[in-house]
């Protein structure tokens, strides 16, 4: 018998399985459709959307690093209008929940995005990005200050009936402080981690590898840090926690689930293998069958610390 894979990720949102694609690593879904059966994925989280289109940062924007990569895309995106007109209709054709990652430079922009997206059909949840390290205004400025993080969360909470997931930054001393603040402000779920700030230098030319000097580190290099932070947050809050960070295969995802994450997001892995999310999903199912676990919810949070 196939194991039960259904998970609740907060705000009444139920996913048919716990594997999502992380924002910024899966485009608007369409880019991956030749390679991935989109209707098998738990949920698609689209590239961060801002009210107005954003041109992004000057190149070079990426650099490979040991077991990962640095990026400084700068939240390049088509903006809300084009997203609603040109990108969302494609995703509506699939029976897969669409979660929209939203980004603003002011609290008001977050509020406005939440209102508009709530009225658009076919959006099942919002992920509030308060953790992008690559933009000057907004983003991480909100995500590193508990008061600001709560203010953004409250504004979005008031503007929408959709489930509100807040995506947290690891670039803080104590992630549980922000997590608690955001939970109190009305978040239905928390997702973590966004990228870690990093840097790389071309020693021949003595220039930074990225035009913006620093960028965000992702990939398996960050996984142990992500796992530790997820575990800490799970013990602090009572809302569902979604694990993100260097998940390449099922075993990685299982670590997050066992540590207490109710779901996971596959990110950078999709760059190196477009089918990564599906392979993670299949691997989790195989694991449950092998261990005779009938319901994935019996696995979540089952970490045994003696």
């Amino acid at each position: 018998m196939k194991p039960e894979m259904k998970v609740h990720i907060g705000g009444g949102l139920v996913l048919r399985n716990p594997v999502m694609t992380a924002s910024g690593t899966f485009g608007y879904g369409e880019e991956y459709s030749p390679y991935v059966a989109l209707d098998l994925i738990g949920a698609v989280i689209v590239k961060g959307i801002s009210l107005e289109p954003r041109i992004g940062n000057p190149p070079p924007r990426i650099m490979e690093t040991p077991c990962g990569m640095l990026n400084s895309i700068g939240l390049e995106n088509v903006g809300l209008e084009i997203f609603l007109q040109e990108k969302l209709p494609f995703l509506r054709r699939y029976d897969t929940p669409v979660i929209v990652n939203i980004f603003g430079e002011t609290v008001d922009e977050y509020r406005c995005l939440a209102e508009r997206l709530s009225r658009a059909g076919g959006v099942r949840g919002l992920e509030v990005n308060i953790s992008c390290p690559n933009v000057k205004k907004g983003g991480i400025a909100f995500g590193t200050d508990p008061v600001m993080a709560a203010e953004v969360t409250r504004a979005v909470r008031e503007a929408t009936d959709l489930p509100v997931i807040v995506k947290l930054s690891p670039n803080v001393t104590d992630v549980t402080v922000i997590a608690s603040a955001v939970e109190k402000a009305g978040a239905d779920a928390l997702s973590l981690i966004n990228t870690l700030r990093g840097m790389s230098v071309d020693v021949e030319k003595r220039v930074p590898h990225l035009r913006t000097v620093t960028g965000g580190l992702s990939g398996p290099a960050v996984r142990p840090i992500a796992l530790r932070m997820v575990w800490e947050v799970v013990q602090t809050v009572s809302v569902p926690v979604i694990g993100i960070g260097g998940i390449m295969e099922a075993g990685d995802a299982l670590q997050f689930l066992i540590a207490g994450a109710c779901a996971v997001q596959v990110g950078t892995a999709s760059f190196t293998n477009p089918c990564a999310a599906i392979e993670v999903l299949e691997g989790i199912e195989a694991y449950l069958e092998r261990h005779r676990i009938e319901d994935i919810n019996n696995l979540i949070g089952s970490l045994n610390i003696s």
């Binding site: 059966a37 041109i55 760059f271 477009p274």
Partner: protein
Amino acid sequence: MQTGKNSRASLKGTVSESRRIAENHVLLSIAADDVFESAVPGQFVMIRAQNRGFPFLGRPISIYGLRRTKRNVAIELLIRVVGAGTSVLADLTEGDRVYLIGPLGNGYAFFPDKKNIIIVAGGIGIAPLAFLADAYSRAGAQRVLCYFGARSKDQLIGLERLKRTCSKVLLSTEDGSTGHFGMITDLFESDVKKFDREETAVYVCGPESMLAKMQSIVKKYPVPCQVSVEERMACGLGACLGCAVRMKNGGYRRACKEGPVFDIDDVDFEFRG
């Protein structure tokens, strides 16, 4: 709606041959899925060695050639070792498995009826252009002129093939070991006035400085010119937005999706430089 994974594309290939053809240059032949049969010159693949922890990301490599074999399609990739990632690709041997995504990006616009087809290549930039010359030769183009420059004689890769597919091959080297002593753009610039604007299509690929030079030449002597650019990429699918190319209008285009072929007038090389 998709019904299964990989329904329209295979993601695997096997190295059928690896040949060191010059210092730091390896010609890889990959047995690939039929989907690659549709590849056109200017397109590229994302390739990554299987069963190795490094490199983490695939590398975008132009398609150098394509052969239909009895069982599948053999794609040829010309690898120049520039760093640790390309070094791993160059060390692959027959039978090694690779992850292979493609064909990706837009190919060159093709004008088989134009009188002058002109390719201008610098170093490893010959890879997509040699494939283009194959296509023009097969289409029966009247005249294909090849301008090919490199640092030295031994870096001028695949001359015999070019001599078969092109009407004329003009060479230059920076060390004077063969052909014109200097830059290939010098030779092109001295000939460009002879080409009728309506009857000519120019294609260029090579190092950044050469592309900038070509842009200024065709600005002075207008002829239609397409350029294929190189950028670091993570996915090759249009999702990571890592391969942004700055355009003259101030915006960015993705090398993997809107490119890698652009009208040379549109790209902002000064910004890139």
